[in-house]
Structures are given as structure tokens and as C-alpha cells.
Amino acid sequence: MEGILLALAVFLLSMDQQVLTRSLQRPLIACTIFGLILGNAGTGLAVGAALEMTMLSFDTERYYFSRPASVLYSCFSVLLAVKANLIAAEAAGAAIVFFGIGAGIVHLLSAGNLIFLQQARKAAETRNEKKLAAANFIPLLISGLIPAVIALIGAANAESFVTAMETMGDKWGWILEGFAALAYLLPLVGFAVLLRNLAAKDMPGAFFAGFACAVIAGTVFSYEAGALICALIAFAIGAYDYHSSLNKKETETVKKEKAGKGESGQWW
């Protein structure tokens, strides 16, 4: 019963990593819920507070996009703390393999969801909103279901499960790393499609200027600050181009008017 409740909580919280307000999945809240299910809310609180502080440092690092991995990690940290009587820091250290596995699942799904993108494109062609909704919600359910199954299997004997997962990670973890690299590369396909659709061939300078600005701003500042600075520059360039186009049009109109009057020879 405990395992089923734990799996149900992991299922719901894993989905909260992507939808709604994304507040329940934070380690402090998730660990408290897991602690309550395991009958030891105090340990859940302590592990949650420790993990929350750890995750704060991940938020701004490379693992930003894998942050949703935190639910499975939180679950097994609390399981180990309660079942093996470990203190919060020890449990968090022992369960770290689940952070990698959780991140791997996120990246794996990022590639797997391309199947549903095809469904969504077909739904767009036929204006079928129900199919579009299915293409949106089935991946969500899958992203909750996989961690839930892992939690259900691991809940029975957490310690030996952690050891088994570590061995598996050593052997097959590279596949998850491959999908992590793919998750980094795939947005570039999306960008290339957008470039094609924007017919960017006649404006390569704008593309390279944006890239160069991002290199400077993104190296000096954080990713977010860099993106905001680039957005402001993009807005400024767009506004300048808009106004100069209008001025050019206006000048051309005046010239035409003058030329027209000149032809008649009666400017007065």
C-alpha cells in the first residue's frame, strides 16, 4: 500500500514538473509529501530542506533543463533516510544516481515526444483539436508513469534497488548521456526549420549578428540576462528598421510628387 501511494505521488509530482505551477515538485514540498506517506514527516522535511538548497545551485548550472529530475531523486533520498535510517546529507548522497536517471528520462522523452509532434502536425492539417490534445497529454502521462514505475519497484527494497541501479548506470548510463546530448542538439533542428520558414537566406547578417551578440552577452552574464539583452537589441534593430523604412517611403513619395510637378512645369 505504501509503495502504491508513493508511486501515485511520484506520478502526480513528476507531471507537476512540466505543468500547472511547478511548485509541488520542488524538493522541499515533494520530500515532505513522501515523508508523510512513509509515516515520517519530520525526516521528509529535513531531507527536503537539504535537497532544496542543493537544487538551488543546479538551477543555474548546466543541469537547468534536467531539473525535473528532482522528483525521483527526492523520492529515493527520503526512502533511504526513512528505511535505512540515514541522515539527510547521507541519503541525498546515496540516492544521487536517481538524479542522473531522472535527467536521462527527461532527455529520452524529449526525443521520444517527436512521435507525438508528428501526430500534432497531422491534427493541424485536419483541424482536429481532440487529436492535438491527445498529442499534448499522452506524453505528459508517460513522463509521470515511468518515474512512478521505478518508484513502485524501488519502494519494496530501496537499498538493494539503489545498488542495482548504480550497477546498471555504470553499464548503460552512456545511452542516457547520448540522449542528453541529443536533447541539446534537437532544438537546432527547430531553429533551422524556423530559419527556412522565415526565408532567412537574404538576411544572414542578422543571424550572425544575433549569434555574436549572444556570445558576448551570454559569456559575460548568465543565460537569462544574455537572452534579455539580445531581445532588447533585437527590438531596437527592429524598431530602427521599421522607422527607417517609413522614412525611406516618405522620401520616395515626396520625390515622386516633386518629379510629377516638375513634368507639368507648373510647380507653383
Binding site: F116, L117, E125, P187, E224, A227, L228, A231, A234
Partner: protein, 290 residues
Amino acid sequence: MVVGIGKYTNKNEAFPLDRKTLNQVFLRSFFADASRNGETGSSTGWCWALMPGLKQIHKNEDDLALAMGHELEYVSAASPVSTFAMGVTLALEQQKSDLETIRSVRTAASAAADAFGRALFSYVVIPVSAIGCCALAANGSMLGVVLYFLVLALLSAGLRYGMLYLGYSKGVRAAESLTRHSEALKHAARLAGIFMLGAMTFLFVRGLEPDLFAQSQYQTVSLAEGLEEVLPGILPLAVIAVVWHMLTKKNRSLLQCFLVLLAISLIGALLGLFGGFFHSPLPLPWINMM
């Protein structure tokens, strides 16, 4: 047929969206990032969230299919502030703006809104509230957990709501005054959109540099640092050039591009080219990971 390419048949401006429709979009926006995929980000959820508005705007069935198709292009809706870009997009759709204008403005607005939202939550809201609430929780008080949930949930929902309405009203006002000069606007929007795409190529894929070190008894050289010296972000730039070439010059399908990238990723991981959390079983013999 390429989904989302073409021109609207009915170019007459649609009636402004009512509050009920915008509220539906607001509620759906909570699920906009449900099916994030590598290629187009949150596009499926984004399109689904906009559907109540799109259906009201495009009564012509072909136009609706076209709108749905181009809303499935790359977009990021991970942060609550992304609803601002949703509002602006709906405003431009309502004005029946040119497709290139809509996709350019959407790209720039969603990237900016996403970055602002992430920065707000990652650097301000989460750290400040987490430190306070964790201190309470460490003393065994449940109040810390409840407070943490309330701060994050209310702020996230409030921002979503406010930003959608702000984006829509600003978008309508801007689009109304700009429609008279649609050609100039289209050119300017394309310029800004392509500029932002160039920026995203570096910013979104930052951190992909191979984490490798060529090592001998005399010297250790970092490949990532070496590439940074040549040109930071050279790898994503090279990849996007190859994919663009495959799509436009070689007429390859998206699936073929995906398979090429999958092969590169798996082989790279097998050889330990990307570093990461797990060890590689076949690391290149002359290169070490540190």
C-alpha cells in the same frame, strides 16, 4: 505539404477576443509545456492552449489549419511569463497579420518572456523564498512548506493571468497602429526574429562543448577551452549550418536530420565525447576526462 506555410485566405480583421476566450487560454496555458520535445520545444501545448482563440479568429477552415500548423513551430513556454507572448501572438492573429510577421514576433517575444520568467524565478523568487522557508522547515515547521507552495503557486498563476492580458492588449494596440505599414513591419519583424534566432543558437545550446582533455606527461589541453578560444558556440553553429543545409539544399526530411543527430549523440556518448553524469564504456584512448 509543409504544415504552416502559406497565406490566410480571409484577411479581414476578426472581432476582438472576449474575456471568456482569453480565460480559457489562460487555463490551458498551465499545460502548455506538457509535451516538450527536442525539436520544437513546447509547440504542441502552445498550439493547444491557443486553440480557443484561434478557433474564434479563423472561421475559414483552411486558415485555421494554417494557423495551427505555424503555431507548431519552435517556441518555449516553460515560464509563466510566456503567456505574454501568447497574448501578443493572439493579437497579431486577430489582426490577420502576415505569417512571417507573426512567427518573427512570436519567436522574439517568447524567447524574451521565457528568459525573463526563468531569471525571475531562478535568481529571485525561488532562492529568496526557499532560504526563508527551508529555515522554517529545518526547525520542523510545516508552515515553511505551506508558505513555499503558496508563494510559488500564487505568483506563478498571477503572472500567467496578468501577462496574457497585458500581451493581448499591447499586441492589439501595437498591431492596430502598425497595420497601415504592414510591409515595413514585416521586414522589421523578420530582421528582429532572425537576429533572435542567431542569439538562441548560442544561448540555448550553451554547455555542449565536449568536456575532454588531451593529456600527456608534459601537458594537459582542454578541448572545450580550445574551442572556446576559436569561437565560443562553434559547435551549435556548425550543427545548425549542417541541418539547414540538409533541409534546404538537400531536401532531406526532418526524420533524416533527427537520425543523423541521434547517431552523432549516441556515438559521441559511447566514446565519452560529451562528459556528463555517467561514465562512458569506450572512452577514446588518447583523451581523458577529468
